[in-house]
Structure formats: C-alpha cells, structure tokens
Amino acid sequence: MNELINLVWVGICTALVFFMQAGFALVEGGLSRAKNSINVIMKIYLGTCFIGVIFWAVGYGLAFGPSVEGLIGGGSFAPQKLGATDAVGLLYQMMFATTAVTIVSGAVAERMRYSAYLAFAALMGLVIYPTYAHWAWNTGGWLRQMGFIDLAGDGAVHSVGAWCALAGLLALGPRLGRFGKNGEVRDIPGHNLPMVALGGFILWLGWFGFNGGSISGVESGQMGTVLLNTYLGGCAGGIGALAFMRLTGRPVLMSATVNGSLAGLVALTAGAATMNPLTAMVTGLIAGALATWGAEALRARRIDDTVDAIAVHGVGGTWGLLAAGLFFEGDMFNGSRLMVQALGAIAAFAWAFPMAYACFKLVDKLIGLRAPTLNEQRGLDYTEHHEIGYPEFQDSPGQMHKET
C-alpha cells in the first residue's frame, strides 16, 4: 500500500515539476522585451521536448545506470520495460534534467540563435547534467558516497544550470547596448511584469513537487517538514531580497522580490529534509539577499544575465549547498560535512562551467551562437520564428508581406 501511495505522490510531484516549465516560461518571457518573448518561450518549450527524448535515451543511463568508478553510469539506456515505480522515477528525473537546461535559456535570452540554444541544450542534457547528477545522486556516485547532501538538485539542477548559463553569457557577450562605453549599466526592462509575478508563484508551487517528491517515501515522515521548509524558504527569500533592497537604499523591485523568493527556494533544495523550520528560514533569508546582491555584482562585471538566473540559481544554489551542511538538524556546524558540501559546490562549477564553455564554443564554430544584430533589431520572434507575440502592438510580418 505504501508503495502505491509513494507512486501516486511521485506522479503528482512529477506533474508539479513539469508545471514549473510554465513558470519559467512566464518569468523568462515576461522579463524579455516583447519582440523576443516568443523566442524565449519557444526555447523552453522545444528544450523540454528535446531533453525528454535525450534523457530517456541516454541521460538517465548516464545518471542512474550502474556506476563506473563513481564517475558515470553505464547502463539503462533507452529503457523499454520498466515497472511502474521505475517508469515514474525516470519521468520524475527527466523533469529535473529539463529544469536544469531551462535555467540557461533565460540567462542567454534576446541574443542567442535558436538553433544554437537547442544544440547546446542537447549537449547539456546528454553529458553535463547527467554526469553531475550521477556524482550527487547515484548510490555509487563519488560525491554521494562522501555524504554529499543534495535532496532535490540544488547542485545537480540549479548550480549546474547556473554555471552553464554563466559559460553561455561569457561566450555570447551582452545584448546590444546593455553596457555603456563608460561602464554604465542600461536597464532593459521586461515587457510584462505581471507575467513574471505569476511565473514566480507557479515556480513556487512547483517546488513542492521538486522537494516533496525527493523524499525517500511518504512513510518516512519527512514530507511535512520538507513541504513546510520549502514554503518557508520561499517566504524568507522574498523577505531577504526586500531587506537587502531597503537596507541599502535601493527601490524595492518586484522582479528582484520574485527572484529573491526563488533564490530562497533554490537554497532549500539541498537541505529541506535535513533542516528545521528556523534554519530553513535563515537559509532562505540569506539566499534572497545574496541573490539580489549577486545580480548587481554580475551586472557590474558586465555580465548580462537577462533574468538574473546566475544570481538566483548559482549564488542561491551554492549558498544552499553550504547551508545544508551548516544547518544539518541534530549535527549543526559540522566542519567535515561542510567541507563535503563545499566540495560538491566546487565540483559543480569545476565540471559544468568549462564543459559548458567548450560546448558553447563548439556550437559557435559549427552553427554560430549569436544572432546577427539585425535580428536583435527586428526581434528574435520574427526573425527566428516568423511569429510575434503581440501583433496588435507590433509591426507584424503579415503586414510587411502585404505591403510587399
């Protein structure tokens, strides 16, 4: 009976994590300019399709197949005959892989070729994500064997996604005119902040599946704590962002507040099952403040992250990994556990960043990474997809065809 309940619960959580793609689409689409919104959403949509196929065929085997020296999986490729539990488990893990890749799409929005993004997404889903997932989650993975705590992918999903995004941003460069010649940062506001807020709420909802489905079983008694800690992390993240903005005299921005709460959720992804509610709140609070600070720090270094994904998933994620070691319930501030967590965080960067950078460079050489400036002028919606999001307010291709 317990097995059946667990199966249903993981199935529900799978649907919740899948629904997070809608949240990402709203956040990333809303934070992009109207002329690029369809492009961003299409990247998420077709990225989801690609990763689904790739992860089933190869990624799952590399991540969860029999471990080869703790480094990589070597079996269970393109599985055909699976029991109900294994099938749902695969599907659940597939959602995580998709989420990791989607993190990149928002960061590189508004200047990357669509085909180049899909090529990179395939490479990331094929190699970068499954390898680290193997280290962190496979029972034979070297990090897992060291006692690395990563409940639902703080390192495997969020940190890896963020460091891949950073590599992409360095390979791509900033959007046209984002930074002035004297180093000033030009704001490029998103076209629809209500979309961003709705997306934030949907992501928050999805996080119940993200963390809730990663417990060892409903009977373990962890579910309530995990769900409560997850929720509190999101709350505290938003408050942390608010506190940072208020205390430093900055305007309290909605986009930064949403990102703050998302950073709080990211930070709870590692240790939601091993923290108490108070330490969960402290973790989320610090993550929210750090992400808000991190977003500005990156901009000051002329790194143009359209949706502040690196601050949320990279800065928030790294802090979350450390916090999971610091605030381990019943054994707080254990130095050796903290060292393992730090090693996991470093491994995420050391693996994902150079690999992703190499992949981006490879894609650049083969098909070209950056959209031409003319496409930036016209908007990637029209130039890449021949569709626009808001025909009533934009000069539509149909109008142009009629005139020719």
Binding site: R33, L176, G177, R178, L374, Q377, R378
Partner: protein, 251 residues
C-alpha cells in the same frame, strides 16, 4: 499642450493686439506667438509681448498695458474672446509642418519632424526639395533618419558624437557600396544640415538604418533606441511616399 489651450492663447493675443496692429503685423505677431510662446506664465507673457513690441515698434507705455491686458485675456471666459485666428494665419503661409498644432483632429502618438522643433524644424527647412525629388524609398529613408536624428538631437544631444562615431565605425564593415558609404560619411560630417537622401538600393538603405540603430543602442541604450526607431518609422509612415514604399521595409 492641448489644441484647445493653443487656440485660447491665439484668441487672447488676437483680442489684445488687434486694436494696436495692422493686419499684416497682427498676423506676424500671432505667428510669433505660435512659434515662440511655450506657456502662459507671467515670464512667458512678458517675453512674448517684448518680442512683439520690438518687432512692431510698440512704445513702453503700451507695452506695459499689453502685459496686463494679455494676462487678463488669457483668464477670460471663452465666450468673451474673438474667434480663433488660425485660418487667417494660414493665408499666404508657406506650407510648413505646423499641422501638429493646428486645430485638426488629434493625431496618434507619432513624433514627426515637425513636432521636434526647433532643431527638427531647422532640419526640415534644409531639405524638403531634395526629399520631394527623391524616389519613394530614398525619401522615406531620409525622413526616417532625419526624424530619428532630430529626436536624438532634442533629447540626447550629448550622445551625438558617440552616435556619429558608432555609425562611422560600422560603415566599412557592412556590404555598402563605396558611393553610399561616402554619402553617409558626408551626412554625418554635418548631420544637422544634411538632407539624408542616400542614393542607394533598398537593401543598402536598410543597412544604413540598421547601422544607425546599432549606434543608437550603444550610445543611448537599447530601450531608447527601440523607441526612437519606432517613432521614426511611424513618422515616415505619414509621408505620401510611404504608400509606395513602406518604412517597415527598411527595418
């Protein structure tokens, strides 16, 4: 400034100046008001009356009376003011781009060259003949570039040199022919006086507009660049030539 407020200002001026000035002088004074008076404050009134007095030899005593009279006229109920003299002002007037303030139906939010006075008006005066004589694609392109440039000059004047250098840096990188590059370079040497009629193919004109846009992005930022370009396209869309060649083909 609403159309109604402009009309009231003209009617008040007509009321107080008509006893003192002959018809030609009166029309001149009304046109002067239309061109130079920017508000209804005391300083605006004094400034305007002083200009009229200098141009039409009004003595100091009458001038002082006019300050008060015009101020009071502006406060009078509409029913006590004469008819709007705008039709009189149109007689014998050369075709000017003053339609934006004429008592016509309010246009959609389009920034035309005419509305970007005084810089744009000066630019407009410099080259209408050249534009009129140009083929539709070149005329439309010229209007688009001139409108965009006029807006930059008005609202982002300090960015002009960066804009200019940004365009010139790109000029040799694109596929523009040598004559087109020379024309663009010449235009940028004197951007305010240039007619911006570029003798190029539509593809080359599109490339010129794109280089202008990229330079605007770098000089003003992408948000302002998008807004300036959008408004310039809408302004160019108002030209009769736009029926034969849409400015959208240039972007």
């Amino acid at each position: 400034m609403s159309i109604q407020a402009l009309s009231l200002r003209r009617r008040a001026a007509y009321a107080v100046l008509s006893p003192l000035l002959e018809e030609n002088a009166l029309i001149d004074a009304l046109r002067l008001q239309h061109q130079s008076m920017r508000g209804d404050s005391v300083s605006d009134i004094i400034g305007y009356i002083d200009q009229v007095a200098v141009r039409h030899n009004i003595d100091a005593a009458s001038r002082k009376k006019l300050y008060e009279a015009y101020y009071k006229a502006l406060k009078r109920p509409e029913s006590e003011l004469p008819m709007d003299p705008w039709p009189l002002m149109q007689i014998d007037a050369a075709p000017t781009p003053a339609a934006a303030s004429a008592p016509a139906p309010v246009a959609p939010p389009v920034v035309s060259v005419a509305s970007l006075e005084p810089v744009a008006a000066a630019m407009q005066a410099a080259a209408p003949a050249l534009i009129a004589a140009a083929s539709p694609d070149r005329a439309v392109c010229a209007e688009l570039l001139r409108t965009a440039l006029a807006e930059v000059l008005r609202f982002h004047a300090s960015a002009l040199s960066e804009l200019c250098s940004g365009v010139l840096e790109q000029l040799d990188q694109g596929g523009l022919s040598q004559p087109v590059r020379k024309q663009v370079r010449d235009a940028w040497a004197q951007p305010r006086q240039a007619a911006w009629v570029i003798e190029g193919t539509p593809a080359e004109l599109s490339q010129v507009v794109h280089q202008f846009y990229v330079a605007m992005c770098e000089a003003l930022g992408p948000v302002d660049a998008d807004q300036v370009l959008t408004r310039a396209v809408r302004a160019a869309d108002q030209m009769p030539q736009a029926r034969q060649f849409s400015p959208r083909k240039l972007i």
